[in-house]
């Protein structure tokens, strides 16, 4: 009885609390239902803004209806984890095949044979790893051998936290392994490279900032598109303090895309998702890709944009006799080669 009257007395405040809860519920439900979500990694933000615009135009012409594509960008590994933990992505485009494989094996949201679903093993574009140095190249850096010399200060992100950094590492490792034809020499090479590294940022963009804005280091190892973006940025602000150096050889950094089949099916977006990803392989998609400094795979587009992408010898991960799984275990997992570099004893 007592409690009941108390409850009645409490009523006005209680209704306030209740309406706050309802309000929160309504607001979150508005945000919780994205039409179509594309989860991607950091440096593709501008690329996909343009891709989305022209894809949606095509879609409207063909199907007559409209929808919006929401984009989410972040570190590749972080994004993969978000999808595993339940971020409702319809499609993903990540920096490493390993990250999509991880989604497939840990969450079953993507089929394990996802690479067979789209042309070219689901890789619509690739990039490579090159150097950025100070204007007029004061340390005379021409190739990988020059950056492991004593006295050179190298900037590269941490392979343990950054997908891009793993490409950097593998580019250097692959170069040494192909040149000296010995695992041991390649290990030595990598060791002296990271001895020269003065700052290990957590992501590729962070390293670019350290090198370009803080002016630390003699050479930045980075994605080709990231280097070109930095140059563009310099040009726009009227500065001219950087120079791109192409090494003799580097890695073919393949960045895959995949449909998150289970989620897309649940949301009824399967058709949109596959049309969207197929658009990346079309002539128009490939042209936009080339415009954003990613290397297109379509031979005719590649030919017409060849002047933007200097020729250098490219080796792929399989040329090194590795898969992502084995490379991850050997180099980057706990107790792997990268950890061994920093063992003092």
């Amino acid at each position: 009885m007592n409690y009941f009257t108390q409850f009645l007395q409490f009523k006005p405040r209680f209704s306030v609390i209740l309406s706050i809860f309802l309000g929160i519920g309504i607001v979150t439900s508005l945000f919780a239902d994205p039409n179509f979500l594309h989860v991607s990694f950091d440096p593709t933000r501008e690329l996909y803004e343009e891709i989305n615009k022209s894809f949606l135009k095509h879609w409207k012409e063909k199907k007559g209806n409209e929808f919006t594509i929401q984009q989410s960008h972040g570190g590749s590994g972080k994004q993969a984890r978000a999808v595993i933990d339940g971020l409702d992505a319809d499609v993903v485009s990540l920096a490493l095949t390993y990250d999509i494989d991880s989604i497939a094996s840990k969450s079953k949201l993507i089929e394990s044979n996802w690479q067979t679903k789209l042309p070219n093993k689901s890789i619509p574009y690739y990039s490579t790893i090159i150097f950025l140095v100070r204007k007029s190249n004061p340390k005379k850096i021409k190739d990988w051998d020059d950056i492991v010399k004593p006295g050179i200060s190298v900037i590269t992100p941490n392979p343990k936290t950054s997908g891009g950094a793993r490409w950097n590492y593998l580019a250097a490792y692959g170069y040494a392994k192909r040149k000296y034809k010995s695992d041991e020499k390649a290990n030595e090479f990598i060791k002296s490279l990271y001895k020269n590294t003065s700052v290990l940022d957590t992501g590729a963009r962070g390293s670019t900032t350290t090198f370009v804005n803080r002016k630390i280091g003699d050479v930045l190892i980075t994605w080709e598109n990231e280097a070109k973006l930095a140059l563009d940025e310099e040009k726009r602000s009227g500065k001219n303090s950087l120079e791109v150096i192409y090494p003799s050889e580097s890695i073919k950094a393949e960045t895959p895309v995949a449909i998150v089949t289970t989620t897309a099916k649940e949301k009824g977006n399967l058709e949109k998702a596959s049309a969207y990803l197929e658009f990346l392989f079309s002539k128009e998609g490939q042209t936009i890709i080339a415009k954003h400094f990613f290397r297109p795979i379509d031979p005719t587009i590649a030919k017409s944009t060849a002047k933007d992408f200097p020729n250098l010898k490219l080796f792929s991960l399989s040329d090194l006799g590795e898969t992502w799984d084995s490379a991850q275990k050997k180099h980057f997992a706990d107790g792997g080669l990268f950890d061994a570099i920093y063992k003092t004893k």
């Binding site: 936290t161 590294t197 003065s198 700052v199 940022d201 803080r214 630390i216 920093y342």
Partner: protein, 275 residues
């Protein structure tokens, strides 16, 4: 007119208590339990392994030493700030008072980037030190600076009200009885302030150990040298090693809890002495 009030009972399971328990469970207790359960998958031996791995051990050592040094600095800096803010009148006082809260509201990553810009060799302050051959950013010194920045509001905001409440008569009578200013400070004022100083410093210390955003930018993240514990957790997550990540988190959590508990005990003893 009759005023209706509910009788106050010590044990009264009303709606307010219900809501408190519900919220603290949903927001604090259940997530922490989840953490514990997640890391139990790896077993006690797995958690102990955290201490045998050389890289983790050096990060553990670094995180706690820079945390301790910055907490100590914050104790003095924060106390000084609070003292000046309460005891002195100067122009724009309200402005400075508000400024103190900024480290609370600023995303720590922004603080980290700003501090790195200033303290790196090309920065305003960093270039000055660089002439003397002293590097600040990308060394433990840089980390301490970042931690002092994010930690000192804790000390200021816990000590400030206590200084405000100090009765003026206390000081005056001490001086009248012949105590020197120094004696007045150490024998009369400090014992009053000590508990709140400890509490503020403790919070700053705990915050320092878990700080990630600002530190990753200024530390350079070199394994064994400037790599902090929270970064190692991120590293493990990046390799999908959830258990190892959570076991490092558990170690951090337990040690932070231990230190906070210790400080609370000290604080209690200090305030008991007062009464």
């Amino acid at each position: 007119m009759q005023i209706k009030t509910r009788p106050y009972k010590k044990i009264h399971f009303g709606i307010s208590l219900g809501l408190t328990v519900f919220y603290s469970s949903a927001i604090v207790i259940i997530p922490l339990l989840g953490l514990l359960i997640h890391s139990l998958g790896i077993g006690i031996s797995g958690i102990l392994e955290v201490f045998t791995d050389e890289r983790i051990r050096s990060a553990l050592y670094l995180s706690f030493t820079v945390g301790f040094v910055s907490a100590l600095l914050n104790l003095f800096i924060g106390f000084l700030f609070a003292w000046v803010l309460v005891r002195y009148q100067f122009p724009f006082k309200k402005f400075f008072d508000t400024l103190i809260d900024l480290p609370f509201t600023l995303p720590t990553a922004v603080a980290g980037i700003a501090l790195t810009t200033i303290y790196s060799e090309t920065g305003i302050i960093g270039s000055f030190f660089a002439e003397w051959g002293i590097q600040i950013a990308y060394t433990p010194v840089g980390i301490v600076i970042a931690l002092v920045f994010i930690g000192f509001p804790f000390v200021v905001r816990t000590v400030q009200p206590v200084i405000e409440e100090l009765p003026k008569e206390l000081e005056e009578s001490a001086r009248c009885l012949g105590a020197t200013p120094f004696q007045t400070f150490t024998r009369v004022l400090l014992p009053e302030l000590w508990p709140s100083l400890l509490a503020g410093t403790g919070m700053a210390f705990a915050r320092s150990i878990g700080e990630y955003g600002s530190v990753v930018f200024i530390s350079g993240n070199l394994p064994g040298k400037t790599e902090i514990l929270p970064l190692l957790i991120v590293t493990k997550l990046e390799q999908y090693e959830y258990e190892k990540a959570t076991s490092i988190a558990i170690v951090m959590l337990l040690s932070s809890f231990f230190f906070m508990f210790l400080i609370n005990l000290l604080q209690e003893r200090a305030s008991k002495k007062l009464t």
